[in-house]
């Protein structure tokens, strides 16, 4: 069965390693923070100027001067640091963030990503997404396998304006985990109960399947 948003976040959280500095995009990627394994420590970077983002505040802790990149009120953990937007993106552009997780409208087999604009419909701007995909050492995209019309979002070539080129290393969808390299989606895991045929059918880009494809370990 297709994963829920929470299950996608849970699977992505398995990619985290002890000591990682991580930037979680707005929306579904934010949920990953709820599934960080207790055996490791991870620091969250928020591109508006915070390293060491904590949970949402309790009502009495709300501080208008302390928000995340999604403009939600947050808290800071012990050992956090604040800095300017220039310093924050120096950190991101300079490749110091170990992992970035972000959503997308489309990705393609070249590792291109389209995530910020639907011409004529949704024109809000790229925010920090273009810097994040250009700068992070490792980029995981978190999204549903198909759009609401049932069309694949894993394409041969993106059709929407690009956020970045040749930058996505891995995608975790409600149906599968795939690595992207050498112009191809490489299936590595499937959602519990989802058939390889269904994944093949719903992946418009070049798909490579080899060896046993295990089921994702989510609860």
């Amino acid at each position: 069965m297709a994963l829920t948003r929470e299950q996608i976040a849970q699977r992505i959280a398995q990619e985290l390693q002890d000591g990682y500095y991580v930037n979680l995009g707005i929306g579904m990627p934010t949920l990953v923070a709820n599934y960080i394994p207790e055996s490791i420590e991870v620091m969250l970077q928020s591109e508006n100027g915070l390293l060491g983002m904590g949970s949402y505040p309790q009502q009495h802790e709300i501080d208008p001067d302390l928000i995340n990149a999604g403009k939600e009120t947050v808290t800071a953990i012990t050992g956090a640091a604040y800095f300017s937007s220039a310093d924050s993106f120096a950190m991101i552009r300079g490749g110091h963030v170990d992992l970035t997780v972000l959503g997308a409208f489309e990705i393609d087999q070249q590792g291109n990503i389209a995530s910020y604009m639907i011409p004529g419909k949704l024109v809000k701007g790229m925010g920090g997404a273009m810097d994040l995909v250009a700068g992070a050492k490792n980029i995981i995209v978190s999204m549903t396998h198909c759009n609401r019309h049932g069309q694949s979002k894993l394409l041969k070539q993106c059709t929407l304006p690009l956020t970045g080129v040749n930058c996505v290393n891995k995608v975790v969808t409600d149906l599968a985990v795939m690595e992207i390299n050498q112009g191809c989606f490489h299936l590595t895991e499937r959602a519990p109960g989802v058939s390889i045929d269904e994944i093949r059918e719903k992946t418009a880009g070049e798909l490579s399947i080899s060896g046993d494809i295990l089921e994702m370990n989510v609860s």
Binding site: P57, Q59, P64, V123, G127
Partner: protein, 232 residues
């Protein structure tokens, strides 16, 4: 002898010299860390045909949204303009030019402007619409885009505290774009929560040295929250 006393006591004095057609930088991220009173004064002055450089464009009726209401902005340079119906309408109807700029590139263009660097290369935006019409170039096998720097006639920033000499400190994530913008304005005006005497700010903790700040005014802040989100 005025010396280094940068304090002004009226919003008229704070924005004296603003003219139609000027380029104005405005600090803040969303509604966090914006110079609320200076923006209201800008609306009050009815300066027109402005080029505004700010990460966002406020919301309907608050922040830079106030200037949109009066159609004071001709060109907007920003990274994210959502959460603002009037903005979308003006943008889609082409009543306003909008130059969408990646957030990190925007921050760096402003820093470069203040630091006397006319242009720099960044990988951000390579292969996207952002790079269209711009020079690109390879360094060590990777492709980069040449980005020119930005400066402004006026920079309007919000700080937590200033001393009378214009030294500034910011609070938490209300820092955001304010420090770079302070360096890139021909005239930089800081609206602050508290003005203290020189020596009360630790010299090692000053985020923006007074050399960048020309006027300081004590403001009143509503500090509206866009998305109050709690753990409860």
């Amino acid at each position: 002898m005025a010396g280094f006393n940068k304090v002004v006591t009226s919003y008229d004095d704070a924005l004296a010299g603003i003219k139609d057609g000027m380029t104005i930088m405005v600090g803040g991220f969303g509604l966090c860390g914006i110079p609320e009173g200076l923006i209201a004064q800008l609306q009050h002055l009815e300066a027109k045909e402005l080029t505004c450089i700010s990460n966002n464009a406020g919301v309907d009726g608050f922040g830079l949204g106030l200037l949109l209401e009066k159609r004071q902005i001709k060109t907007m340079i920003a990274s994210y303009v959502g959460e603002n119906r009037l903005f979308e309408k003006l943008f889609i109807n082409k009543e306003m030019e909008v130059i969408l700029t990646p957030q990190g590139t925007l921050a760096e263009k402003i820093r470069a402007g203040g630091a006397g660097i006319p242009a720099f290369y960044t990988a951000t935006g390579y292969g996207t619409q952002v790079a269209q019409g711009k020079e690109t170039r390879e360094f060590n096998g990777r492709s980069y885009v040449l980005e020119p720097s930005l400066t402004a006639d006026f920079s309007l920033v919000k700080a937590y505290k200033a001393d009378t000499m214009g030294n500034l400190v910011f609070r938490k994530t209300a820092m955001n774009f304010n420090p770079m913008m302070a360096t890139a304005g021909h005239i930089t005006v800081a609206e602050v929560e508290e003005i203290v005497e020189p020596g009360e700010l630790d010299p090692e903790h000053i985020h923006t040295p007074g050399i960048y700040v020309h006027r300081v005014i004590k403001g009143q802040f509503e500090k509206r929250i866009e998305r109050a989100t709690t753990i409860d």
